[in-house]
Symmetry: C2
Subunit: 435 residues, 2 copies
């Protein structure tokens, strides 16, 4: 049997040759994936199942042991006969995955080890809009350094960081092309955060917050595994993450899913993006606060985005209380948001034909009132009518969906390329811990 | 070496066991695909490349020869040494693929053999809306029977038929759930067409016209191979076919891409679907005719759809002449359609982030004037601005894009399951030709 080259295919579907380094990376990933799916195995089992030479497997395993990604787990015996063989298993406990999200009024953190065990979970109120990009980056850097310290102390320094941002992200270059609600344009976030981290050379990737939330919903949310679904963030801005046939729809540049700027009301209000009548001027959190609690409203500073209230959590609680008490203004405001949610949802159903629309952020907190209004409007407007069978569901991942998706993306990155954490050593003192 | 089972994966990504019949089908398909990509090969080459036993390859080849899907093509010699070996090649010439489209005012036909050689190409003016479903089906049956006869005479009776319809199609059951512009609701088109064909038991599949046109654009249009693109049909109705990462986006039920009913003008005209201000009331062919040549306008019969003019081809020519002569009304009407095309296009770019929007049907005929207006509007409205780099391109496939895509889908069906054409023998007299 010859050494098997894991199949790689280019866009046109033709097999491509692999260089030596990338072949080794692919084989390391092949072994890790096998262990992830099968649990503990002997080296011989891995060789048989993957088609790799036994000598190759032993060699790969030595590297994975050294990187702290697998561990010896004693012996196993194949049936009644045969000599016992040493088994190995995935060991996620020494390497961490750090997911972050920066949004209009908070920074969220979700740090796990590679097995998914949560090490750090935090949401810090922060006025990113008011502070501007420089001070936001300094704060993001400060929070990140502190969390890396916490994860080191927990024995799993992060092997990578993914940061979610509510805007258009050029993920390949780590640049935020445009985040209207943060007032960011062409911000090289990955480079700037690396600078803020100084000696802590952890690989940093940037992605759209709604895409990351959709990944979290698809892997661990209320509609996990639904192959065709849309996930909506419910913040001041409204972002969409689209899962199509079990895969995240990214589009040609990663700019897909900009649902917040669907033009739904030509005679409506001006949006943070400068246009008029965008969907998020109807269903975004600032729009709800404006109509439900006008004395506490967000300011809207055209062209620069929304100015947040001091404490959005308190606003949500206040509105929830108002609904419980039957406050007419609040009941009316939420019903109106629900109808607009249904109208925009019907556009998404006509275009994507999802089975579920998961609503996150503040939408989820007010779902009991929002969903009936939204569902009724949706069913009236969808061109396929009841045949489309799409329903709204409230996320149970809270405001941390994007950071959770970000952490799971780090895990995937490391599984796909276990050499990345070594080629960019995290820091001298961390490297000393033999990750 | 053991017989290789072609990998099949369920939605959750886990490998699934294959039964004997489906394993044979998959192996037949594996051999056909290999021949399609590599040209002529010896049986030994195929065994080496596919990992199948030589005896298995010989056995599969006997079946493919019997079905007329491959042919012996003489001998080839591997290098200077070694005895000459008989080679086989794909033989598409004895099996046909019939693509059809029925639309508001025409039936289109595209018949090829399996190698893609065009045998029949036809567009028949027909008032499907005015005739109602029963007479439309009778006419579709009459045209189909005649074309099958033509393809038999050309030596390639169709091994399958795919029919494109402008509406929501439950492809699995062959039912048109809703085609507003034809006035069809819940029509079991596949079954009804099979009845019309009587003894001619050709497998019939039904699909959405815009999806089929998108497949044709992706495989052989002006933007062929563009992994992220949208294709728009330009008829009385406007349908969208969405290619995402090189694959057709279908959604949970195949109801995706209903772009014609994007709500773009809450104060606008009533649409054939019963709603108000849908995109196709602004850019559909009836809308253009209404403003460009009001004396020749389509009637719009709310709830039943559009009543077509006697000769839409003539209307397009008349408008093109008017544009060339600088007729102010026509120039203004086309520019207005162009602006709305750009507005709707910007929604699609914000959601799908395609690199190209291919415009077909009448859009393509008037593209020289439509595209500049549409492109300018698009660039002004797209949230990512110039970074999204999406451009409109005119299709060069004419009104036959959907039927061409339908024929290529038949070819794919046969390549994926070469046993289907045998298990549903086409007709006694055709079977006699040993297809």
């Amino acid at each position: 049997m010859t050494q098997r080259q894991p199949p790689t295919r280019s866009a046109n579907g033709l097999a491509q040759p692999l260089g030596h380094a990338s072949l080794r990376r692919a084989n390391l990933a092949l072994v890790l994936r096998h262990l992830r799916e099968e649990g503990s195995c002997s080296r011989a089992d891995i060789a048989d199942s993957t088609g790799l030479h036994r000598a190759t497997v032993s060699n790969l395993m030595a590297e994975l042991l050294e990187r702290g990604l697998v561990r010896e787990v004693g012996t196993e015996r194949a049936g009644a006969i045969g000599r016992p063989r040493r088994a190995v298993a995935l060991d996620g406990s020494h390497v961490g995955a750090l997911g972050m999200e920066i949004n209009v009024d908070y920074i969220a953190v979700h740090g796990t080890d590679l097995s998914g065990r949560v090490l750090v979970e935090r949401r810090i109120s922060f006025d990113a809009m008011g502070q501007g990009p420089d001070r936001s980056l300094a704060e993001l850097g400060r929070v990140t350094r502190r969390v890396i310290g916490d994860m080191k102390r927990a024995g799993a320094p992060p092997g990578g960081i993914v940061v979610g941002v509510p805007g258009l992200v050029d993920s390949g270059r780590g640049v935020v092309a445009l985040a209207p609600n943060l007032g960011w344009h062409g911000l090289p976030l990955a480079d700037r955060l690396r600078e803020e981290l100084g000696g802590l050379q952890v690989p940093v990737t940037v992605d759209n917050d709604a895409n990351l939330a959709a990944l979290a919903e698809y892997t661990s949310g209320v509609a996990a595994g639904t192959a065709d679904m849309v996930s909506l963030t419910g913040e001041v801005g409204v972002g969409g993450g689209i899962i199509v046939g079990g895969r995240l729809l990214r589009g040609a540049d990663g700019f897909s899913g900009e649902v917040g700027h669907l033009p739904v009301d030509p005679g409506g209000d001006r949006c943070g993006c400068g246009r008029v009548g965008c969907w998020e001027t109807k269903v975004g959190f600032a729009a709800l606060v404006r109509s439900a609690t006008p004395d506490q409203a967000y300011g809207l500073d055209a062209g620069q985005g929304a100015v947040p209230t001091p404490d959005p959590e308190e606003r949500v609680r206040e509105i929830a209380r108002g609904l419980a008490e039957g406050d007419e203004r609040m009941v009316g405001a939420v019903a109106e948001v629900g109808r607009w949610l249904g109208l925009g949802g019907s556009i998404l159903v006509n275009l994507f034909n999802p089975r579920v629309i998961v609503i996150g952020g503040y939408f989820a907190r007010l779902a009991e009132r929002l969903i009936p209004a939204a569902q009724a409007e949706l069913e009236q407007l969808v061109i396929a009518g009841p045949a489309a069978r799409c329903r709204f569901m409230a996320s149970n991942l809270g405001f941390g969906a994007a950071s959770r998706g970000a952490a799971s993306m780090v895990v995937d990155h490391i599984m796909d390329d276990p050499t990345a954490i070594g080629s960019a050593p995290i820091a001298p003192d961390i490297a000393g811990q033999r990750i």
